[in-house]
């Protein structure tokens, strides 16, 4: 077993609420990513998936902050690192791509300038060399006439091209970990497929480890090795993608899969999950999914089940399937 590249241990993220109390949004999350491994983090809004990864990058903005746990990257605790060290790591060793490529790019600067800024900050190369690296990165993500495109502004790019440009920026310094937070949600479905293929390809060729955050289990299953399912600020299931797809153990995972229709099979009413996703600060003491769970028994609401591992597949459920 190779040592983990990223190891998140007991991570907690909270918000200071108006009345001075603390509302926890990430409530003790554990998972790890091996070098070169692709892990999908799946969950609905409020599950804590994006906050967890922002905490890893130390990009949480007030009033959110990490309140506990450790984030080990290559053995180093990022939650304890100073800002200078984080700035050196971000963009060089760990890169992140966000949902909205429009707002992630500075509209007033050329694409080339934005990529070369990152390259020069981390690699200490001449501006000519930085431009060469930037052009190569753009070409690598499938943008034609990359050299000429460096002079383009973000508004001259389509949504898909902007996301490609951001991925180019992310890989330009050859990071070991790429975190992609819903990178295709704002894109059309045909463009989404291209971006997902691109990430899979880069991962294979560059040996990148990838954390792919999404609400879409079907999408994630196309490219990751392992899936971490989050609900109400907790990891409820974590296992190899085949197991999660074919034999999910947590009822939430099973329902999440069932409520998304496919393009084959019989047509009929969809499997719905009753109720609504939990609201922060109003979570039951026990399993966060218990109020909506068809399999729940009384004790589910009062006591949180531990995340129990069985042959590399972890499930937090009193009544796993």
């Amino acid at each position: 077993m190779s040592p983990a590249l990223l190891s998140v241990e007991g991570l907690r993220v909270g918000f200071r609420s108006a009345d001075g109390g603390m509302i926890e949004a990430v409530r003790g999350v554990d998972f790890s990513v091996a070098p070169g491994e692709a892990v999908g983090i799946v969950g609905e809004s409020g599950s804590g998936k994006s906050l967890s990864m922002l905490a890893v990058m130390r990009l949480l903005g007030a009033p959110a902050r990490a309140t506990g746990g450790r984030v080990l990257f290559d053995g180093e605790d990022l939650l304890a690192a100073d800002e200078k060290r984080m700035r050196a790591l971000r963009g060089r060793d760990i890169a992140m791509v966000f949902q909205d490529p429009q707002s992630s790019l500075n509209p007033a600067l050329t694409i080339g300038r934005q990529i070369t800024d990152v390259v020069r900050a981390h690699r200490g190369v001449s501006s000519a060399e930085a431009r060469r690296i930037a052009a190569e990165a753009l070409e690598r993500v499938g943008i034609r006439e990359a050299g000429r495109r460096l002079a383009s502004y973000p508004h001259e790019f389509s949504g898909g091209m902007r996301q490609r440009a951001l991925i180019a920026m992310a890989i330009a310094c050859r990071p070991r970990l790429l975190i992609a937070d819903e990178p295709t949600t704002a894109l059309d479905v045909t463009v989404q497929a291209q971006i997902v293929d691109l990430i899979a390809e880069l991962r294979r060729e560059l040996g990148l480890a990838v954390v792919f955050i999404s609400h879409n289990l079907q999408l994630v299953a196309e490219i990751v090795d392992r899936v971490v399912v989050m609900y109400g600020g907790k990891v409820v299931e974590d296992g190899p993608v085949e197991a999660i797809e074919r034999a999910p153990r947590h009822p939430y995972t099973g329902l999440l899969k069932a409520c998304v229709p496919s393009l084959s099979g019989p047509v009929g009413p969809l499997t719905a999950i009753e109720g609504a996703p939990p609201r922060l600060g109003r979570l039951p003491a026990g399993c966060p999914f218990s109020p909506r769970c068809p399999d729940a028994i009384e004790s589910c609401a009062s006591e949180m089940p531990a995340l129990i591992a069985e042959a590399g597949h972890r499930t937090a459920c009193w009544r796993p399937r």
């Binding site: 077993m1 190779s2 091996a34 070098p35 070169g36 491994e37 609905e44 809004s45 690296i133 190569e136 990165a137 690598r140 890989i171 050859r174 059309d188 479905v189 045909t190 989404q192 497929a193 997902v196 293929d197 899979a200 294979r204 060729e205 560059l206 040996g207 480890a209 609400h215 879409n216 289990l217 079907q218 999408l219 299953a221 196309e222 490219i223 090795d225 190899p240 993608v241 085949e242 797809e245 074919r246 329902l255 999440l256 409520c259 998304v260 229709p261 496919s262 393009l263 047509v267 009929g268 009413p269 969809l270 499997t271 719905a272 999950i273 009753e274 609504a276 996703p277 909506r292 590399g312």
Partner: protein, 290 residues
């Protein structure tokens, strides 16, 4: 034999493009959002309109509901042209064709309670004050909500509940045609199914004609009897939903279907070998020089 409830006859819609400066220089051009589109929707049909952004599907929705006028061509309701129905008084058209929007939080007034929002709509329909409370309860029940929702403000509701209120408000008008523009795309997946099942039940119970605008082919397959595939302002393919999705004829429809995420079945990279955990592949230097 009855005719279509809603028809588009050679409808085009274009918007002026470019700023004032361009126009002063006579360089004005127009963006064609819909290009000579003809479509017949029969009473009781549930029609899915699919396409990517820029395909013209939302423009079509806006025209059908009377929020915009076509640049050329005609929109007909039950054989009567919109231009005539709208000339004197837009009320009847608006009542018969209602819309549910994508973003329920911006479609509802944040300062008005659910009961007030629905009550005002009922007042517009001429429901007397004495009956409004009971009609509000009926509407809430219809969309699967309890009367306790009435006094709440939109921000106190979940996204799924807000979308149900948007639907209740549209149904308050007792419309014949309902147009839903991406009604579930802003919702979490676990709530999408609830709203889709609700739409499906309501269309059959109330005999509604539904235009369901979506980019999600699988949802359209679940809900709709017919499908219209749009691209760049034109209809490239249409027909019975299952026929089109199982045997797509147009390359664009085929491309849309191919792009739908299919989980493990859609995997283009091999599954990792589990035995010794995924061994990291050697890193290549993408830049050639170190």
């Amino acid at each position: 034999m009855t005719g279509p409830i809603l028809s588009l006859r050679g409808v085009s819609k274009s918007f002026p493009q470019g700023g004032l400066f361009d126009r002063l220089l006579g360089r004005d051009s127009r963006l064609v959002a819909l290009d000579d589109v003809s479509l017949d929707v029969m009473r009781g049909d549930v029609v899915g309109i699919v396409g990517e952004s820029g395909s013209g599907k939302s423009t079509l929705a806006g025209l059908a509901v009377g929020l915009a006028k076509p640049t050329s061509g005609e929109v007909l309701l039950d054989g009567a042209p919109m231009s005539e129905l709208m000339r004197d008084h837009a009320g009847p058209w608006r009542r018969r064709v209602q819309m549910v929007f994508q973003d329920s939080s911006s479609a509802l007034n944040p300062r008005k309670s659910v009961a007030r929002c629905l009550g005002e709509t009922l007042a517009l329909c001429g429901v007397p004050k004495t009956q409004r409370d009971s009609e509000i309860t009926d509407l809430l029940t219809l969309v699967g909500l309890g009367p306790e929702i009435g006094p709440r403000l939109p921000h106190e509701l979940s996204g799924g509940q807000r979308q149900r209120i948007g639907l209740a408000r549209a149904l308050a008008m007792k419309p014949e045609v309902l147009i839903a523009d991406e009604p579930v795309s802003a919702l979490d997946v676990s709530l999408q199914a609830q709203v889709i099942n609700l739409l499906s039940r309501l269309t059959s119970e109330l005999g509604l004609t539904l235009l369901f605008i979506s980019h999600d082919l699988a949802l359209v397959r679940t809900l709709c009897s017919r499908i219209v595939v749009m691209r760049k302002g034109t209809i490239v393919e249409q027909g019975p939903c299952l026929d089109v999705l199982d045997r797509p004829q147009h390359p664009y429809t085929q491309a849309l279907i191919a792009a739908v995420p299919k989980g493990l079945a859609g995997r283009r990279t091999p599954l990792p070998v589990r035995a010794g955990a995924a061994a990291p592949e050697p890193r290549e230097d993408i830049h050639g020089a170190a």
